[in-house]
Symmetry: C2
Subunit: 493 residues, 2 copies
């Protein structure tokens, strides 16, 4: 530390206390592609366009993040009515809102301290919301029982995932906790593991089989990991991000048997549970399959499942609503979990209210039911159309191969890149698909995320694009991708 | 790991993957008194009362947490109108809302993706909200400039505090980061440090001098800490929780000079900046004083200041709104900070909107101004009255000594406990003031937090009580505390 004497004789350091060299190295290791350099450049380009800079395009089309409302999807009317009523309860006196919206709002307010969204809730979440979540899970899973005590409301699924990993990760050296994650993955996982200093254990999804999970690959990955760390956790995303696959019941069964046999804690990220489009595909919750395997499984295998208000037909990302359900968690650990979530006081209460409406939506006979169902169905049908459109259009491009978008909100096509492009990228110290996506952004205004941000088999290249832009924009985007890819291929051949 | 063969030949472990012995030991070390055993018992007692169990009281009075709305404080009408408008923009067409509420709502919605609170915002927070925060800080600090790039919106102040500590903490053994915190402290700090595995370095506030900070005590504490860790950070809470003191300008100046001299990063928790009641006391922001000390300080000392929607006259805890401003942060570290906050996508957008209204409240001439000022002033005057009432009533009890509640929302009186009570508590393995508070809860229904949850000088005992209950309840509570204390003292003498 260098020092200088100042005029008043105090000593001032020339160096900062907090620098890139003195900061937490785990934080330095974190990477988060979904909001990485491509997105930062996209924001910059938008500014340049506004300032009148000339570009070969007039607008940036963002297909980098699963942010439905930002792409023009409309919120569910009923949800927003209830939120307005809860925010400003004077509106309860008005006649402009349907009775079911009013009664939902009254019920939530009664469960809040001082009948206000502005009071801290219980750290685990508002009691009646957790009860509604439990009943929702029971309905969803054909009657498999759910105890509200096992339900924790969270600030989006992100919060729940990070909290669970925080509980699970410990040890140093060869006994450091290993966490198995799919490759490609949603980069929250790798980021959280880097931050916690845990060992990321990769298992590869099978691109040839529509990004399914292979038991043999799980076995390979686990055996490999056991040589240098203590693998304790297996994370699954279903329906998949970035890959858009929907797992078969058989596959889920295999994964559960594997976890039981290998003594692994299961983390099932099921935030896309309503986003299933492909014929023959269906969402099976890990919990339901676990219980169908019989008590020797359902009484032993430790499982946590995550859900969120951000995806499905709601797309309410900004409210940061979510829940997790824990199964077979040790009661002492549960007490620790409750203590841990207490430190941050509580998840945002409007997000909890929104989660309640998702799990306790208008029922047949209630005044808002018809509109609710119309809006829900319209959004999901449109997503299904766009999933199909995206797959079909991408597969018309020579050098791009795209698996069916069975579910979720993304396609993750394989792109062939010419050797010359790969070389040029490497010379620049860039991942080849980053080089490709950056060029696409500069030339077309289209903002995608390179596959390298999610992980992929060595020597393969991908990008992730959401299916969320409005249909006309999506078509434009896909046409531009096609044109760009062909031009890029010619240029580097 | 014990194993058993089951009928279907699969192998099932008898042991759980995640147990109290295999979980993250740092999490195990976390303590959080504000929602600890006393509060859990209070919730249980409320249930017992509802179920008709006979008790020497008919209701639990909670004075354990700074949760204003839960204690009956009403939200600011204007804030809630804007939130309702943002939640359900159809209301913009209605004539029931004042024009200034509508224009605020329009401005916020325009800054949201797809004009919806349901879109993710930028991870650092919505641009226009950060600009409004910057202008608010400039007004507050008499024109000291504030760059919106230095402002980060957070999920309550808690989130910002934890994030900053996460950046700062690293190292092992003697080079592990030490973080200086006041004793008594707000237990978020000790909890976050335990979770991060950092070294908590205690400096004691001077109870005799109205809980002020002593330079000599800071020096003692730092010298002590340097023997076994690497102290890099100094945290200050002003106005104080749990102690209710408001720091003098001189004291703040001394602390800044100390931090400059000793090369410490300053964290100023200023969430109670509007909660100043005592005559002669005034809130001075660390930033303002820093800039008044001249460029050799304002260009070098690293400072972060936290604010929140949860306290002051708003009391909007449930929305989890907040911001932090960083001063003199290394640009490379800033990039790391932005990356880190990106992982969790963004703070809840309704909380960001609420933060905006706090920093951009109705102005003279706008239709909502008069009502806003009336509501704000009424709340703050009432708090000032209750601060005075609490101090005066507590000081009438022999064996209780209470410093003036100059600011914030708490008193932290010193209680003399008879030796016999101390012995009995220790025999039960309880902190003596925990024993006292638990007994008070069981006998009177009053829920306070023992001083041991915040830290205190060895051999001294305290409790923290909020001044938030409605005046009549607060009077009842104080009378019951008096009666209980006298009875308890007789019983154990
Ligand atoms: C698989 C998956 N899990 C979790 C999340 C986190 O979402 P949120 O925190 O908004 O609920 C996302 C967001 O895109 C996701 O795709
Ligand atoms: C001193 C202090 N800092 C921070 C907080 C955290 O508040 P929030 O996260 O609700 O903004 C509190 C809450 O009581 C507090 O007293």
């Amino acid at each position: 530390r260098e020092e200088v004497k100042m005029t008043d004789n105090a000593v001032f350091s020339q160096n900062k206390v907090l620098t890139i060299d003195t900061m937490n190295p785990n934080v330095k290791n974190v990477e988060y592609a979904v909001r990485g350099p491509i997105v930062q450049r996209a924001v910059q380009i938008e500014k340049e366009l506004r300032e009148g800079m000339k570009k070969p395009f007039t607008e940036v089309i963002k297909a980098n993040i699963g942010d439905a409302h930002a792409m023009g999807q409309q919120p569910i009317t009923f949800f927003r009515q209830v939120l307005a009523l809860c925010s400003y309860p004077e509106l309860l006196k008005d006649n402009m809102f349907p009775e079911d919206a009013k009664s939902r709002a009254r019920r939530i307010l009664q469960a809040c301290g001082g009948s206000s969204l502005g009071a801290y809730s219980a750290s685990q979440g508002i009691d009646c919301v957790r009860q509604d979540v439990a009943r929702y899970i029971e309905r969803r899973d054909g009657g498999v029982p759910c105890d509200p005590d096992n339900v924790y409301l969270t600030s989006g699924a992100s919060d729940g995932i990070v909290t669970m990993l925080k509980l699970l990760v410990c040890g140093e050296g060869a006994s450091k906790t290993g966490v198995m994650i799919s490759i490609p993955q949603y980069p929250l996982y790798s980021a959280a593991l880097a931050e916690l200093g845990a060992v990321q254990v990769n298992y590869y999804l099978n691109e040839e089989k529509c990004w399914s999970m292979d038991l043999s690959e799980l076995e390979r990955s686990l055996a490999e990991a056991r040589k240098h760390c203590n693998p304790k956790v297996l994370c699954i995303i279903n329906p998949g991000n970035p890959t858009g696959q929907v797992q078969s019941r058989q596959c889920i069964e295999d994964v559960i048997r594997f976890a039981a046999k290998e003594h692994l804690f299961l983390m099932a990220d099921e935030v896309y549970q309503d986003n299933v489009y492909a014929e023959g595909c269906q969402f099976h919750s890990f919990k339901k399959v676990l219980f169908e395997l019989g008590p020797q499984y359902s009484n032993t295998v430790e499982l946590v499942s995550f859900h969120s208000t951000s995806k499905c037909y709601m797309g309410e990302c900004g409210f940061r609503g979510g829940y997790m359900e824990v199964i077979n968690m040790d009661p002492e650990v549960k007490a620790q979990l409750i203590k841990l979530v207490s430190v941050r006081l509580c998840p945002a209460v409007p997000g909890q209210a929104l989660m309640d409406m998702v799990v306790n939506s208008p029922q047949p006979g209630e005044p808002s039911y018809t509109t609710f169902m119309k809006e829900r169905t319209a959004t999901l049908s449109l997503l299904a159309e766009k999933a199909k459109l995206t797959e079909e259009m991408l597969n018309t491009v020579p050098g791009i191969t795209c698996n069916p978008v069975q579910g979720a909100m993304y396609s993750f096509p394989n792109i062939s890149l010419p050797q010359k492009a790969i070389k040029e990228a490497k010379a620049l110290g860039q991942a080849p698909d980053m080089f490709y996506c950056m060029k696409m952004l500069e030339e077309t205004g289209i903002c995608l995320v390179p596959g390298s941000g999610f992980g992929q088999k060595d020597g393969t290249y991908h990008f992730r694009m959401t299916i969320l832009p409005p249909t006309d924009k999506l078509k434009l985007l896909l046409a531009k991708v096609k044109e760009f890819h062909q031009k890029f291929t010619r240029q580097y051949s």
